[in-house]
């Protein structure tokens, strides 16, 4: 029986992004869609166009050409409304080092418009889940890399977004912290959250993502379920093999 797909939560059509000169295209005529409740991995070597694509999807800047639709709404014209549904966990630790973890979370939760009592409850819950309660009232500057990543993640999900963008959420994180982060992201996805995720950890992406796209030189080269992609590419036993086969082994800047 043919599966009936609902309207995609994200649809990008012929999106191009150039910085300055037309020749230097960071994203080159990219089109794809993401279904609700999907964990979509956008993978690619350094400078491939992952962060630029994610940035356009979360409304940080407009595409030079093409359209981005979130829940059927044009991002360019309805950004203010769409933003309520988006959560972002940037690659950089976007926290104030001289504030405590809790103060950072209170600030970002307030900026997202979460009501004070509800915000306090959610902060405590998430701190507990990610084992940060004891350190919550210490300054972020005193945290380890893993602790900062955990607070960085909580700051992006406090307002219960429908779509969560994760840009390298586990980079520089120890195994324990990574396991905890991925476990809770899986739980969020199970609760109905659509996740768009970029990473260099291909093993992690293989396990976590329901669908991946490999981008290189600003173009989507391949798209599909990780297991299916491994099967499709002869001689590949995991996603990393597929990745190297497609993007070549030459090192990137």
């Amino acid at each position: 029986m043919e599966q009936i797909k609902s309207a995609p939560v994200i649809a990008i059509e012929h999106v191009t992004k150039s910085y300055g000169e037309e020749e230097s295209l960071a994203v080159d005529d990219v089109s794809f869609s993401i279904q609700k409740n999907e964990v979509f991995g956008l993978l690619g070597p350094n400078g491939a166009g992952k962060t630029t694509t994610i940035s356009m999807l979360c409304g940080l800047f407009n595409p030079t050409h093409g359209t981005v639709l979130i829940n059927g709404e044009d991002l360019r014209t309805n950004l203010a409304v769409i933003k309520h549904d988006l959560g972002v966990v940037p690659q950089d630790i976007a926290l104030y080092p001289t504030l405590t973890g809790r103060e950072n979370l209170e600030f970002y939760g307030t900026m997202y418009g979460v009501e004070k009592a509800e915000l306090k409850k959610r902060i405590n819950e998430w701190l507990e889940k990610l084992e940060m309660t004891r350190s919550a009232d210490k300054r972020v500057e005193s945290y380890s890399g893993g602790m900062k990543r955990r607070i960085n993640l909580i700051a992006g999900i406090l307002h219960n977004p429908k779509i969560l963008f994760l840009d390298e959420p586990t980079v520089g994180v120890d195994v324990q912290s990574r396991k905890a982060i991925m476990q809770h992201l899986s739980e969020l996805n199970a609760s109905g959250m659509t996740i768009i995720y970029t990473s260099h950890h291909l093993e992690e992406a293989e396990k976590f993502c329901s669908d991946v796209a490999i981008i290189d030189h600003g173009k989507i080269i391949v798209r599909g379920n990780p297991s299916a992609l491994i099967k499709e590419h002869e001689g590949c036993s995991n996603l990393e093999d597929v990745f190297l086969k497609i993007t070549n082994t030459a090192m990137r800047d």
Partner: protein, 418 residues
Amino acid sequence: MKKEMLLLVRDRIGLGILFVMPMVLIFVMTLIQDAAFRTLNEQGIPIVFVNADQDTLGNRIEQGLRNTEMCSFHNEIDGEPATAENVGEAVKEGKFLIGIIIPEGATEAVENNVMGLVTESLGMESDSTNEGGTAEIKLIIDPVASKSFVTSMTSQLREFISTMTTRIMFETFNEQIADLIPDGTEVQKGDYNNEQVISYSQQYASELTGEVAPNAVQHNVPAWTIFSMFFIVIPLVSSVLKEKQEGSVFRFHTIPASYLLQVSAKLIVYVIVCMIQFVLMLSIGLVFLPMLGLPVLNLGNSYLAIGIVALACSFAATGYGILVGTLAATQQQGAVLGSLSILVFSAIGGIWVPAYIMPEIMRTISELSPLHWALDGFYALFLRGEGIVEVFPHVMKLFVFFIACVGLTSVVNRYRRN
């Protein structure tokens, strides 16, 4: 706002820059300028005097200079009598600021001129000894002295010497007339006093009831307060750039709150900081500088107007800081752009040198400086004793500048998004 407050309170170096440094600046600048002002007034300008005339004119000028507080009188150089030959060298070496030489026969030249005039006027035969002559009084000036100072001093000296010369001329004339009365009638010799005919009075064009004498406190406190308030640009730029570099800006752009709401917390906190700075600086002029023997800062007639100008100045400084922080890509760029632009704004705005002594073109340019608008506003209140109505144009300019800065910041952000 809580976040901005916490960030500020926990940045001790930033707090030092915001509060301690400006207070130190006001102390130092006011004390230096007051000390310089007092040195000249209390000790007088060092003058070396050569009286080669040794007669009425030379003696009277010497007496006058000895008695005036305007100068410290010297007629010796390193223990040796000052002469027409060694005065130039002593001034050149910086031992004195001005040298005055009254030439030999100066009194005689004045008297002969008057006698010659009298005999000529009465059609009498001129005595060969009454032939007029000239005497050149020399002023030798240290080239290190500033031109405006030299002009001021030499004009006062010239006026003083001219008064002495006129007095001698009058007395000589008086004596000549008395001697020429044929019937030997006793003639009362009058006493010359030009002050009886024309007198001068001066007052400051100010609404203030008490006398507001221009002094180092009255001029420096508002000027350096404005300068310091605008220097809030440096920590503000640093704060904006930190958010950019630490990735917070990335999050801000994805938050469903308007840009104005996002920057408003920062604006409000820094405006409050500016106002606290303002109160602290004024307290220096009102409390601390008088403890060191300086005059008390006179705040004029309208505290409300002072508050409004200070608020407008705070908004202008904060808006400018947000703009510079947005335009700059790195901390270094922000620091250089912020500090240099404030220095330029302050220089053309009359903080360092009063705008009224600038060349015409610079006076026109100074009208473009927000520091000038603020300074004009405070001078109107503190020195002229004016009120809200008079400072309204300055306040409006400052608020328009603030709106322009925030508007431009928004445009720059929108442009970058595209």
